[in-house]
């Protein structure tokens, strides 16, 4: 966990400690479906996924976004996360290992708050970017 002294010294180009989760297997998807209230069968029913033209079930976008959230909340307390927006750029295949990374792209003031903008992404072990986004955290 980064303390406030470290945050005050944060600079553009600084990177967050990378965060890796997975591999994502069928049990991961079944558990996440139940825990997250997401019962879309594309993620948990291979027959359904194949009938829909997919190779197999695949990871929920929100599972990878939950991993990306952990990148941030393992670095600073969640209260510092003010907003974030992401695009899901590719599906996360079964058995993928997901690594979340972040880099400071801007330090700025907003309504009296000192903030850092982070470029955040998740990448699979095959090098596919599955989430691309940005987050704003309060650093004062």
């Amino acid at each position: 966990m980064t303390n406030s002294t470290d945050l005050a010294a944060l600079a553009v180009g600084d990177t967050l400690p990378a965060h890796t989760q997975g591999p994502i297997n069928r049990a991961t998807l079944a558990l996440f479906a139940g825990a997250s209230n997401d019962y879309v069968p594309l993620h948990i029913d291979s027959d359904f996924a194949k009938a829909a033209g997919m190779d197999d079930v695949f990871g929920h976008g929100m599972l990878s976004m939950a991993y990306l959230a952990q990148l941030i909340t393992h670095w600073v307390p969640q209260e510092r996360l003010l907003s974030w927006t992401v695009r899901f750029t590719a599906i996360t295949p079964l058995y993928a290992t997901v690594t979340a990374t972040g880099e400071v792209t801007e330090i700025f003031e907003d309504a009296g708050r000192r903030c850092a903008r982070l470029a955040v992404r998740t990448v699979t072990d095959k090098g596919i970017t599955t989430i691309d986004g940005e987050a704003v955290i309060r650093i004062n």
């Binding site: 825990a35 359904f48 009938a51 829909a52 976008g61 991993y67 209260e79 927006t85």
Partner: protein, 148 residues
């Protein structure tokens, strides 16, 4: 094609309890190692009154309490085989904790197509308020429907 009459429609508010057991289950299912999210002692030591809802949890609350009208997985008639999650945003105002009852209101802000209708996009904005009527979080979900 998605019925354009949903565009601009705001759902009735619906309530959902933030359950401690579900937060622990969510932590387990996401391989969470930070005890703030599954150990109440650790949560209190970090200044929380109870287990905090993690950053993406409002999405799960919304799935747990879908609107009766304007539900992508319900009355909007979208084929579940053809949906993809396109974009996701959150803006936070106040923390949400286990034991809170959250009121959700969802507006279908936009419905548009690209590539001559091969892709349709549904933009929904949800507000999450606590029992005091204070805004806790805002969420935008962009769902893509593959018609091609």
């Amino acid at each position: 094609m998605i019925d354009q009459s949903f565009k601009g429609f705001t759902s009735d508010p619906r309530k959902i309890d933030v359950e401690k057991g579900q937060l622990k289950f969510f932590a387990h299912a996401t391989g969470e190692t930070n005890p703030v999210y599954f150990d109440e002692k650790a949560a209190r030591a970090a200044g929380h009154p109870a287990l905090p809802a993690p950053p993406t949890f409002v999405f799960s609350l919304a799935l747990g309490a879908p609107p009766s009208r304007g539900n992508i997985l319900g009355d909007m008639g979208v084929d579940m085989r053809r949906i993809l999650h396109g974009e996701q945003s959150f803006t936070y105002h106040r923390p949400i904790h286990a034991g809170d009852t959250i009121t959700l209101t969802t507006t279908t802000s936009d419905i548009y197509e690209k590539k001559g209708g091969a892709l349709e996009f549904i933009v929904q904005d949800t507000k999450a308020e606590n029992e005091a009527g204070e805004l806790c979080a805002e969420m935008r979900v962009v769902t893509v429907v593959r018609n091609g």
